[in-house]
Symmetry: C2
Subunit: 247 residues, 2 copies
């Protein structure tokens, strides 16, 4: 049972403005919920249908899961197919960008990636390949958008996203920047060394001119057919795979 | 100007059943439209806003583009953000599966891929890497779904999708089947030779048991982090990239 005011509060969290104000975001689905539960994230509250109650696992004593009906769930869910459980999770404090900690690692940098599904898929893929930090330009999609959380399939609980001015960041670091461009050296002939930033651009416009001038190594995924471009999450995954196969 | 009955006819094509009955599907956006226009597909009709009229290119004399308002466009569009042009395109006759023609090539086979966005992205990626045939199980998402067409970004005009019983097809062909599984040989150590079928499974359940027994080479994308799985379009792209880098 859930009150009308709770329903409207949770629905308000479908909007970015309210997530920011309340410091909360929505996680749906049992698998994602468990991954956040077993992470440093703090679960604020849990709403789930009767049959899922026994599967919740060890919750802190502070959390009393609220049993709701399918119909109530569909009212608060941000998904077209709700998944029996919805949790509110606290948005953690912003991580400061400490460039020293990023040395000897590979990380992704996203310049204005707009589609929430793409961002979520990039987070999931980075997690698969063991890249735990993604630096995002300020105009990249918001990470706590329910569609991003959903597409990340729980990987958001392990991957750290930092939003910052990428120009300033690149100017302050000595880590080499590999930019995904249409006219660079073949990725198959690129040596990625022991550390690097893989920079990927916006879905329609690619990498901004300001950032292009800061790329140390322009890299291209060779084209064998006729498509004009690759989806940005696809490019990201091929970069992740290539640098792991070589390291 | 567009009549009420035209609006309701076009809207009816948002549904699979009506696409099949009418033999028509929807293509939106100028870039996709041009790619279908320059292909073997037959354009049936074109609806576009005033400012786009001069950019349509050379249409056959049979086609008289209909000028419509933004508001009319939003009523017939299947997209949340309509793109100034919508065309109806004829669904071509089914291609027969001629196994001989598929020798000495690489192709993708999809076992029950459900998400239209994933299918569209796989088509676009296959086109980038020059793989022109995708064999789909009968329960794979329908290729003329507007979301598939949209995500393929025009590549559907160049990639041939054949829906068939994959078990029968695998039994009839000698082309080696490489299956994307969690417990196979590392993709980085796999030699793909000169021809092969890359088999990818359903988003939630992977490759069916019946098809698993028909795999000649189980292949895995090694995991370096903690995500439980990769998105199927991401797996497909890493397979495409690997077999091209080796061939």
């Amino acid at each position: 049972m859930i009150s009308k005011s709770q329903i409207s509060f949770i629905k308000s969290l479908h909007q970015k403005k309210n997530r920011k104000e309340q410091g909360l975001f929505i996680v749906e689905g049992l698998k994602s919920f468990h991954e956040f539960l077993n992470s440093d994230y703090v679960i604020d509250s849990v709403y789930c249908t009767e049959n899922l109650m026994p599967k919740l696992g060890n919750l802190s004593r502070k959390i009393k899961p609220v049993e709701i009906t399918e119909s109530e769930l569909s009212r608060i869910s941000a998904l077209s197919t709700p998944q029996a459980i919805l949790a509110l999770v606290q948005i953690p404090k912003k991580t400061d960008l400490n460039a020293t900690k990023l040395e000897n690692l590979f990380l992704l940098a996203l310049d204005g990636v707009q589609d929430p599904g793409n961002l979520g898929t990039i987070i999931r893929t980075a997690d698969w390949f063991g890249l735990n930090t993604i630096i995002c330009s300020m105009d990249t999609a918001e990470v706590y958008n329910p569609k991003v959380v959903q597409a990340s399939m729980g990987s958001l609980s392990r991957v750290n996203l930092i939003y910052t001015n990428l120009e300033d960041f690149f100017d302050q670091t000595n880590i080499p920047v590999y930019g995904a461009l249409l006219d660079g050296k073949s990725i198959y002939e690129t040596n990625f060394g022991q550390e690097g930033i893989i920079l990927l651009g916006n879905e329609g416009n690619g990498i901004s001119t300001e950032l292009q001038s800061r790329i140390n190594f322009p890299v291209t995924i060779p084209r064998y057919g006729k498509a004009e471009s690759l989806n940005v999450a696809i490019s990201a995954s091929i970069f992740c795979s290539e640098l792991r196969r070589k390291s």
